[in-house]
């Protein structure tokens, strides 16, 4: 292991700070045919709910200038399927496993956390910020008192390290971050997608069947970076920064803003080797500048 690259998030030691963002990497199987999953700091899997969810109608994807919209709606085969099929596959690799969990109700969030409590996973990521489900999702993630309640409830069912994934669709991200921490979050992940829209002027209708969807990709990076910066200044727990990261330079910006680790999402679609190139790029930067560990530059921007 390369000590320079090692990163600890909520007590979990990652070999490097590069993680895949939930929903963009499946359960790792497909990208594993192209890249070596053992290179990654961690894999965050697609949102898992207690029962299978069918997801939203098609079309679910729209390209925008320097970004994209999605309205997948957390389609997933449920936690039992995850435990039986995906977890054993991921466990064959030398990388950490972060399970993104979702629900329509408080009870559903708790049920997934409880089911995973004894499983061999490294961290849970509580998604209270999906713009693509009508109940749950964003509704839980935008009011500080609600955020605190959900986190507290889920915390009760699991002793595993817990990161809470925040939505950028709030007036004051630091207030939400504090609420999540006081609810018991060991770490925070941000940001989830922003709500966006695309209209086909020839057909004169929205491209997405759900009309609106989650906006991700390079276009959102300045917003994400600002929010990570603000949150890192406000709370003491580690932050997993994400939103538009496509190159190692982007990743270093997040780390200099204070992020403990970074997650790469949409960039995987544009370049399946993005994560590997980012890891190599960060390593090269540290070597060239003779920086002994990431801690030396983390949060260096005041």
């Amino acid at each position: 292991m390369d000590d320079r690259m090692e990163t600890v998030v909520a007590g979990v030691a990652l070999k490097n700070p590069v993680i895949t963002a939930s929903g963009t990497f499946g359960s790792g199987r497909e990208y594993g045919e192209l890249i070596d999953l053992n290179c990654l700091g961690a894999v965050t899997v697609k949102g898992v709910s207690c029962e299978p969810w069918k997801g939203n109608p098609i079309p679910r994807i729209a390209e925008t200038q320097s970004g994209m919209l999605n309205s997948i709606g957390l389609q997933n085969p449920g936690v039992e399927h995850f435990i039986e099929h995906d977890l054993p596959f991921l466990r064959q690799h030398d990388t950490k496993i972060i399970v993104n969990i979702c629900g329509h109700t408080l009870a559903q969030y708790c049920a997934v956390a409880e089911r995973l409590a004894d499983c061999d996973v490294d961290m849970l990521e509580l998604n209270i910020s999906c713009p693509n489900v009508e109940e749950g999702g964003l509704a839980f993630g935008t009011a500080p008192r609600m955020v605190e309640r959900v986190v507290q409830a889920v915390r009760h069912y699991t002793g595993q390290p817990l990161t809470v994934k925040l939505s950028p669709e709030v007036t004051d991200i630091t207030e939400i971050a504090r609420a999540a921490v006081s609810g018991g979050a060991d770490a925070l992940s941000l940001i989830n997608t922003l709500r966006g829209m695309k209209i086909d002027i020839h057909r004169r209708r929205a491209v997405l069947a759900s009309k609106t969807g989650g906006y991700s990709g390079p276009g959102i990076m300045p917003v994400a970076l600002r929010m990570v910066y603000e949150v890192c200044k406000t709370v003491d727990v580690p932050v997993i920064g994400m939103g538009g990261i496509a190159t190692f330079e982007d990743a270093l910006e997040f780390i200099m803003a204070g992020a403990a680790a970074v997650a790469v999402g949409t960039a995987n679609f544009h370049n399946p080797y993005a994560t590997v190139e980012i890891i190599e790029g960060i390593r090269g930067y540290l070597e060239e500048n003779d920086i002994a560990s990431l801690d030396k530059i983390r949060g260096i921007v005041d």
Binding site: T24, L34, K54, R60, F269
Partner: protein
Amino acid sequence: MNTYCKAAIRNQKELMTGIWKMELEAPEIAHSARPGQFIQMYPPDERNLLARPISLAAIHGESVEVVYRVVGKGTEQFSRLRDNDMVQLMGPLGNGFTLPEAGERSVIIGGGLGIPPLLELSKRIPGEAEVFLGYADAPFMDGDFRGHGRKVHVASQTGNGGFRGTVLELVEAIAPFADRVYACGPRQMLQAVAEWAERQGIPAQVSMEERMACGIGACLGCAVKIQKPGEKDWQYLRVCRDGPVFSGREVVWNG
């Protein structure tokens, strides 16, 4: 095996207004590709983040051929590339067509830009196959199918090239006898083909399209409603990974 690679462009040419053909020198892809599979083509302008799924029209020794229509930003950029320019690709992707058993007779039905993806299939079917091609107006590539000895029937909305009407009306008029049906084209056409095949009691393999992000099965963007025999309910499968070729009988067409 799926590879992410750069390919040199050879013989880019406009077959007719807005429809282009190019050869891509990509040995890794050519060596493992099967008819009915597709590739992801990345637009050269990096502001267009998502790759464009394009079917393989032909597979040669070291290269593959694609035929595409310019409809938007990405395909417009492809059409401006010149011979020897490089383009980023990923592929081959998806499951191709299943070839017929020895002695079986096939019917191949293509509509518009659904025609090129059937060419390599037509070449590789060992037995008898009758080809039905539907166009909006002037035919293209019909000669390629005749070139390897297939009997080709052409329909078009304007009557240009023979029969005036839809390709399915032509199929019904000729009423070919077949053990297998292969189809690619607009969704409505595929539905009509699937229903026709069902009435004849013949299995149909239809190649579907949907908007894609990853192209490899990870993002669940390219969903299609499928109901498997014996299952109570439909489910969303992935066009890129579970398709693009599906059994016509299993696609939930309405809704």
